[in-house]
Symmetry: C3
Amino acid sequence: MWLQREIRLDPHPRGFHLVTGEVVGALPELRDVRAGLMHLFIRHTSASLTLNENASPDVRRDFESWFNDAVAEDAPYWTHTDEGPDDMPAHIKASLLGPSLSLPVSDGRLALGTWQGIYLCEHRDRGGSRSVLATLHGE
Amino acid sequence: MWLQREIRLDPHPRGFHLVTGEVVGALPELRDVRAGLMHLFIRHTSASLTLNENASPDVRRDFESWFNDAVAEDAPYWTHTDEGPDDMPAHIKASLLGPSLSLPVSDGRLALGTWQGIYLCEHRDRGGSRSVLATLHGE
Amino acid sequence: MWLQREIRLDPHPRGFHLVTGEVVGALPELRDVRAGLMHLFIRHTSASLTLNENASPDVRRDFESWFNDAVAEDAPYWTHTDEGPDDMPAHIKASLLGPSLSLPVSDGRLALGTWQGIYLCEHRDRGGSRSVLATLHGE
């Protein structure tokens, strides 16, 4: 069984956002999969997807702080600066976290750990709506 | 062919640990796959999986040094500090390395390069046993 | 449908290189896949694969600058130094970016976003030719 569906995520402000509910809600066919994988792929180069702690908003705020510190907007070596100071750091952050997640599906549900949630990582000041292509595959 | 199995990894001290043998040993069905993929998924947010050099213990020690330097426990911006100074850095490290590996399987074996081994990356001081969900899929 | 094929990438100088055309050209069977996934796996521990902006060469140059700054060759804590100053940083960079990409395939084409291209990330001064194992799977 193969299913592909585009999920349009609403615009989010720069930062890290929990979107597990939005993603699972868009894929009711998960229920029919006994064993399989769900692949999520963000079709952009300045936003990314990761999995992390799903309870404390301060974890997501600290993610934003660390990434801003590690990939500084005012680094002296940037040459790709035409699209604003948040653009090139957004590209680096997007590759550090990656454009996709592959998540196991078991008995009709995502087999996440208790504390795991899906983050949309918005690295631009004004990234707008983001497109995620979901590929669900299993038996 | 789909197979899912939980692998319980013994508690490891903070650091980077080669677990290729432990993982492959838990999946004798690899032998029956001519072409496919093995997906490994760690169900935690403060430990991760990566692939790297499988020979020199000093490589794994240098991994720990670099990650401790890049994600400092005493950074002034952490707000999520209730669970100890190693907790928030562990979450960042886990997302930088990622919760999963997808590895090709060819002719009954993991098709790794000569020098590639599977690392369990334990980012907590006392992380305890870790659960990895393996999904093997192929023909 | 499962297909596995090794793609030998020509030697590239240290840095980030767009190889989308080379990879897609080696897999004409993509045309026959209505819905599926293409898995690319680099069989090395000092080179990696990522997805990022496919238009401006200055983005790829800035990637090299940031990674050299973040993973310094002269960090005082390296102990694995036998193979030269570029070796241990190459291992760290390889794990930060990761050894594989899973890309959705729709209607006979890679379903990448407009600006997404496949990068070969060569982290060694003289890495030589690199082997990528492609696994194409779909219906």
